[in-house]
């Protein structure tokens, strides 16, 4: 709970911050707190991803972006209250929706009755992987994981092609100057 309060404080600070450099640092702090919270919830693999992507890679990427743009955010020209109203209504609807969910961490809710018992009981026999999460990701849902990997691979190829085009243009410009 204390961690959640800290997360809320960081979020408010990020929204109020006008210096984008400060926003990058605060976003890194947010990721570290979030990863700690996920570990407290016993989701170690998700926490590892959050820490490496959120605190590591995206800090570097955001800084590289800041190098290309200005580092201060413009103050808003007019204050429009309609978006805030929409956000409040949608948020209230989402909170209202959570009221009908089963309590947090209950083992006999509907979600945990479908295939989870079979995974827990049979994963060693059927897949031979000692970690149940790994066996679900890489065996029972392997087509899903293959699709995700394809998407990420395609995105990586796209980014590499874009960067290569930029570099080639730089080379031509440099040659012209000298």
């Amino acid at each position: 709970m204390a961690l959640l309060t800290l997360l809320a404080a960081v979020t408010v600070a990020i929204v109020r911050q006008r210096s984008l450099f400060g926003v990058v640092v605060l976003a890194g702090i947010y990721s570290f707190l979030m990863a700690t919270l996920l570990i407290a919830l016993d989701a170690v693999d998700v926490a590892m991803t959050e820490a490496s992507v959120g605190a590591g890679i995206s800090t570097v990427l955001l800084l590289a972006t800041l190098h290309l743009t200005k580092t201060t955010e413009m103050s808003p020209i007019n204050r429009n209250w309609l978006p805030l109203l929409v956000v409040l209504i949608v948020g209230a609807a989402v909170v209202w929706g959570t009221l009908s969910l089963p309590p947090f961490g209950v083992a006999d809710s509907v979600v945990h009755q479908h295939v989870a018992p079979r995974y827990l009981a049979q994963s060693i026999v059927e897949t031979g992987v000692p970690n149940v999460v790994t066996s679900v990701l890489a065996d029972y849902r392997s087509y899903d994981t293959l699709g995700e990997t394809t998407v990420i691979f395609t995105a990586g190829i796209g980014v590499l092609l874009l960067l290569r085009g930029l570099r080639r243009r730089d080379d031509i410009g440099g040659g012209g100057e000298s």
């Binding site: 210096s19 990863a35 570097v60 800084l63």
Partner: protein, 93 residues
């Protein structure tokens, strides 16, 4: 004992966070961010022992590496204004 340690680390994180939010200069924020990263590792270790699973320490080590990279990137950006800075190029020009 571990509960008290957890509470102490949480309070320290809150204090460092206050500095990160209020911090007048960017360096206050960078330092506070680095401190919070280190405290997150500490919290991880203490919570690991609190729940009787000391193998969380390995994850703490990985966090330490990530924290170092993030802080280095921030400081390098601030010193040179560019992440792809190369010492060799400066000597040539």
């Amino acid at each position: 004992m571990f509960v008290v340690a957890t509470a102490a680390v949480l309070i320290t994180i809150a204090l460092a966070l206050t500095r990160a939010i209020l911090g007048p200069t960017v360096f206050d924020r960078v330092l506070a961010g680095n401190t919070i990263g280190s405290l997150a590792i500490l919290l991880l270790a203490v919570v690991g022992f609190l729940t009787g699973r000391p193998e969380f320490l390995d994850i703490g080590l990985t966090y330490g590496l990530l924290n170092l990279i993030g802080t280095l990137a921030v400081l390098k950006f601030f010193r040179h204004g560019d992440l792809a800075y190369d010492v060799e190029e400066e000597h040539k020009s």
